[in-house]
């Protein structure tokens, strides 16, 4: 009996060795449609590559970085990992990500297959570290019903005209309190991006030097006038103010805001709301300048992946960033394809179109510390709006603080 069991064990052991599969682990944060899409892709991938098995693990977004930080140094983490492009420098500096094999992932590869901002944002000191499946950009969302009140089918294309329309559509109670926003003013939402990458450029400035090492928005273009312009819309025009109805998304969803700036990732949420009839157009231009902010989640290979696992990981990475995967991703999650050729089909789509067109002139900010850089923009607005600090001082303070963050990062 004993001997039989021993043989059986030995046999299974030998058998599994002879037919062993390479198992790699993929990590992303939990989001139902994304999880399902990746599961579907893994199935197809495993069919094409019977010798590779992909384990898919998800975590709540809130403690994603902690999980990664706790596992990777211990060598038990993922081989392929999904991460926000803004975290790349931090991950690379920490030695968690591996440079992608140059024979596949080089400048030509990115130039030929992706929107222009991608190539710049996935590289760090001349090396490439990640590949996206989908990208996101901003657009102007408008409430069709509210715009019709003044006989408009669509908001105008110019920023000043948009604000004029917003003024007409704002509603106030007897005491002058805003009860319906013409235009949401929510720095904690997407507006800090809009300010940094869109308004600064439209006012003739440049936010940063091309090497991302120096802050320029306080030295180029209209400088602090950008901030003044922004706060004036809150204080002078009172078309909206921060945290009106808690936040911009709530206000727009409940038909209490005529227009709002938001990302392509919001389409799914808004489509699910039956009481909302909305449309999307490209961000308003100003001074004849168009700009947009793009961001994305990308997949990288960790330093855990070695030998066979590395080869399998590269294959898997190529698979989940292939045009086929992008199509599926768009269908399931509503996120935009990172490959312009795949996107081409959707340029006339009333919802995706404006975002895709925006991608062509979009910029992705380099973040050394995403949260701190977001907060300093929010604080600059709060200081002028709540504390009556001059726009010049607040803007300079924001720039100085951001410069310090960048210096600290680059001098590490």
């Amino acid at each position: 009996m004993k001997r039989a069991i021993l043989f059986a064990v030995l046999f299974i052991f030998m058998f599994s060795f002879a037919f062993s599969k390479t198992t790699i682990t993929y990590w992303q944060y939990f989001y139902k449609t994304k999880q399902d899409t990746i599961n579907q892709l893994i199935k197809e991938f495993e069919k094409e590559n019977p010798d590779i098995e992909v384990k898919h693990v998800t975590f709540p977004y809130e403690n994603y970085n902690q999980k990664v930080a706790a596992s990777l140094p211990a060598g038990v983490g993922p081989d392929v990992i999904n991460l926000f492009y803004g975290w790349l420098p931090m991950y690379i500096e920490s030695g968690y990500l591996m440079e992608l094999p140059k024979d596949t992932f080089n400048k030509d590869y990115f130039d030929n297959n992706f929107y222009p901002f991608v190539e710049k944002s996935v590289q760090y000191e001349g090396k490439y570290y990640a590949v996206p499946t989908a990208v996101r950009s901003l657009a102007l969302f408008y409430n069709k019903k509210i715009l019709k009140e003044i006989g408009l089918e669509q908001p105008p294309k110019n920023l000043n005209e948009v604000i004029e329309v917003a003024k007409k559509l704002s509603k106030y109670d007897k005491r002058g309190n805003l009860i319906r926003a013409g235009f949401t003013m929510q720095p904690s939402g997407q507006h800090h991006h809009w300010l940094r990458e869109v308004l600064v450029r439209q006012f003739g400035g440049v936010p940063y030097t091309s090497d991302n090492k120096t802050v320029l928005y306080d030295k180029t273009g209209a400088k602090s006038e950008v901030l003044q312009w922004y706060v004036d819309r809150i204080v002078k025009d009172n078309v909206g103010f921060p945290n009106f109805l808690n936040d911009d998304v709530t206000a727009f969803q409940s038909n209490m805001a005529a227009m709002t700036i938001d990302g392509s990732f919001r389409l799914g949420t808004l489509d699910a709301n039956r009481n909302l009839d909305y449309g999307v157009v490209e961000l308003p231009e100003y001074n004849g300048i168009k700009s947009n902010f793009a961001s994305f989640w990308a997949h990288g290979i960790t330093t855990n992946a070695k030998g066979e696992k590395l080869d399998a990981s590269v294959k898997f990475l190529e698979f989940i960033t292939s045009p086929k995967a992008m199509e599926l991703w768009l269908k399931n999650t509503g996120e935009l394809p990172a490959n312009p050729e795949v996107a081409l089909k959707y340029y006339d789509d009333p919802k995706y179109g404006p975002f895709l067109k925006g991608l062509e002139y979009a910029h992705a900010t380099f973040f050394a510390d995403e949260k701190a850089q977001r907060e300093l923009m929010m604080n600059a607005i709060d200081e002028v709006y709540l504390k009556d600090v001059s726009a010049e001082d607040a803007w300079k303070k924001a720039a100085d603080t951001e410069q310090k963050i960048l210096d600290e990062f680059w001098n590490k």
């Binding site: 902690q66 109670d173 005491r175 805003l178």
Partner: protein, 296 residues
């Protein structure tokens, strides 16, 4: 059997039972504390692989950080405004509750309710109360009374007090229950004797009841101070994106530590800040114990 050996047996049994919690306490509480003490002198970053000893550099960095000083001051403000308010209100309510006989249970239940409600839920409901018009409940009331609306959580001056009020509302239930228990231990003879001697109701309350409640008051002051020093959940849920804003005006030390540790992954710095909070709690508790004990 000797008397002593039985006693010894009892003692051994007691120690055996205490052994498990002691081990638990050592491993779960004490070791991390020591670890954190050691870490506060290093540049440990959760995302980096090497740890270096850097002496007091973290502390120097912390004390030159505007945001840290602001959150330190905010934390002290929470204690200064919150603790007296909650102690005073709960004492008055407890004394009044002690006088009524009918429906005392109902009132007690009502006051305890906020305390047993999850703090996150409480915070979000209050956040909604404080919203600007047309959504906020308080502002709707102000509007109906023809008063001017307030920014509440959106104002750098008012936000901290708004959070203090919410916290006081939550902590009241706990303090009232403890005070009531204390009130019921005061021998009726004392009060009757005072009444016979012609003491007024107010005199009885302030000259007899309140002094006799001193040990309980001390306990509550210490406990409440510690809870206000450790304030976090309310601020995290009541400020935009859990940032302790606007402009850091509500950010307490614990939130600062949390951000340093789990957003920036700067564990060394976060440990140093924790150490400072620890010292602050020790110091305040010590002062209170000494001060309030001496008086009695």
């Amino acid at each position: 059997m000797k008397k002593g050996s039985l006693e010894r047996k009892y003692t051994i049994t007691a120690y055996t039972f205490l052994f498990v919690p002691i081990i638990f306490f050592l491993v779960v509480r004490f070791l991390p504390m020591i670890f954190s003490l050691a870490m506060s002198f290093t540049d440990w970053n959760l995302l980096s692989k090497d740890i270096n000893f850097i002496g007091f550099e973290n502390f120097a960095k912390i004390f030159s950080d505007e945001v840290f000083l602001k959150s330190l001051w905010n934390t002290i403000k929470y204690v200064i405004f919150g603790v007296p308010l909650v102690i005073f209100l709960s004492l008055i309510i407890a004394v009044m509750l002690n006088r009524i006989r009918k429906f005392q249970w109902l009132f007690r239940l009502l006051y305890v309710m906020p305390y047993i409600t999850p703090l996150v839920a409480v915070s979000w409901v209050w956040r909604w109360f404080y919203q600007p018009p047309p959504m906020g409940v308080f502002n709707s009331i102000l509007l109906n009374l023809n008063l001017s609306t307030q920014q509440f959580l959106g104002s750098t001056e008012q936000a901290l007090f708004c959070i203090v009020i919410t916290t006081v509302w939550v902590q009241l239930g706990y303090c009232i229950v403890i005070f009531l228990a204390g009130l019921q231990t005061i021998p009726l003879e004392y009060i009757e004797a005072a009444r016979i001697d012609g003491a007024s109701r107010r005199q009885i309350t302030w000259k007899i009841v309140v002094p006799l409640l001193k040990p309980i008051t001390l306990f509550l002051v210490v406990m409440q101070s510690i809870s206000f020093l450790r304030i976090f959940t309310q601020v995290y849920n009541m400020s935009v994106q859990g940032s302790g804003g606007p402009l850091n005006s509500t950010k307490p030390l614990v939130l600062y530590i949390y951000e340093k540790a789990f957003v920036n992954f700067d564990m060394g710095l976060a440990s140093s800040a924790s150490l400072i909070l620890f010292a602050l709690i020790m110091f305040i508790t010590f002062i209170q114990m000494k001060f309030l004990n001496e008086k009695s």
